[in-house]
Amino acid sequence: MAKIWVFAEMVGDQVSQISLEILTGARELGGELEAVVLDPQARSATAVLGEYGATTIYLGSDSQYRDHVAQPHATAVAALISAYHPDLLLFGATYEGRDICGRLSAQLGLTVVANVTALNHSDDGFTAASSIFGATQNVTTLVQGPTPCILVRPKSFTAQSSGGGAPRVVEVALPPGSPLGARRIESVVAPVSGPKLEDARVVVSGGRGLQEPANFHLVEEVAELLHGAVGASRAVVDAGWVAYSRQVGQTGKTVKPDVYLACGISGAMQHTVGMKGAAHIVAINKDRDAPIFKLSDLGIVGDALKVLPALSAELRARGVT
């Protein structure tokens, strides 16, 4: 039976959402599902990893996994692979996932496929589907050779517990003398209010069409009224209007809300790849030919600087607070 590993990440003492998504997707492949978790708080992850289908957890809780970036993790995973030879290793397409996967690939000569949104297997081996050109085309790649590594995009699967029981836990020590690499001195969390962009039911995003940073509050106001999160295009993030943590798209976050409201955003491929999974899309753009209208359910050809305040007023008039 194929042995499939998931490299699970943690946020604080919780298993990250993307790791639960990947475990859910990996269950469909059949085979034996196991997880690797390397984090000082790893112990608090075992029960949840079991609930999502992992039957064995390789667990390391060395503080070096917090104080250093990627290098000790890659060394530890390399040692595990050499000992247990999994048939496939899945990572989230996160900052940590990419760094660890890249190093691991180089250490052991493993092939890597990135941007993957679906997994399958054929007679010849596992296949990974990735979307390219702004998700206009799907490419299926067959992976072979020693433990192929796959980086899975967020929101490719919907996390669902399998009701699995307590997994077997195998404690792993960081191999002595492992190079530790870059030091993490401090973590700075930018303050945000309202729901998290990745989880929000409603996302209201603004782009360069808002003309100047002072107008961005029009977007924030509507988002607040709808109990939604504020998103942004890269154009305004690069211009310094809003924090990078708000960026939606290829190099930002992937969101799948019930409603995505795009205001003054042209709909460049690199933006839409991060939001086209929304159930419903509303766009406000003054250019009738803006590409964003090709994927919106309701498109308003108009001035966002007028429509947004009118929308806030209309929502209040309807008793929304």
């Binding site: 760094d99 890249g102 190093r103 690069d238 990078y244 899309i281 308003i300």
Partner: protein
Amino acid sequence: MKIAVFVKQIPDPSGAGALDPATHRLKRAGVEVVLDPGDAYGVEAGLQLADSTGGEVVAISMGGERAVDVIRKAMAMGAGSGLHLCDERLAGADALTTARVLAAGVAHTGAEMVVACTESTDGYTGVVPAAVAELLGWPSLTFAKQLELNGRTARIQRQTPAGHDLVEAELPCVVTVTGGINEPRYPTLKGIMGSKAKPLETLDLAALGLDPGRAEEEIGHQRVVAVEAAPQRQAGRVVEDDGSAAQLIADYLAELKVI
């Protein structure tokens, strides 16, 4: 100090991309090719470090014959020399092989630091810089939105989903920079003229001391077996705002039970 910057020639990202139906590789023939816009940030970051340390930048590119153009462009921006890693057996190279070639290139130049962008705009695997660092045995400072060098210690603000981490490492190291970390300079006319006289070396797999057999085998560990058009969303209503747009949107939100 010598600083290596990675530059890649890619099909113009503002055009519609296409795959060669026979090889399933990115179509490059007959397509406008440019310096990857992400790489311009890496070149600029490298040049700024070189300026402040009295160092020198070498631009390294793996690619076909035409990739010389992006090396020249980096030299026109200010890089002092170029290294072109070119071998027909590298067509369709995967991330691992690319990393092996680039790492061997860096070792050849004697650079003590690599600056690259976080991922290429066409392939978008995003693991090559970390793999290069591993192959060189260097630490890596990735996803930098700010970068400074104090003596032999490089420190970055590393982007995180929630904000940033302060991360540091000693030289030699690999750094990747995000778009927006700086304002890449445009080549001046003088720079463009001067770039033609700057040294540009070309090396193939053998000259890099890499085993073509291994490259071929590793590239073969992944193979595109199908390419299909992804299902696209259908455009819905598009309405000219006549003053009632806010009501229309509110009606729609009510229909969806969002309000």
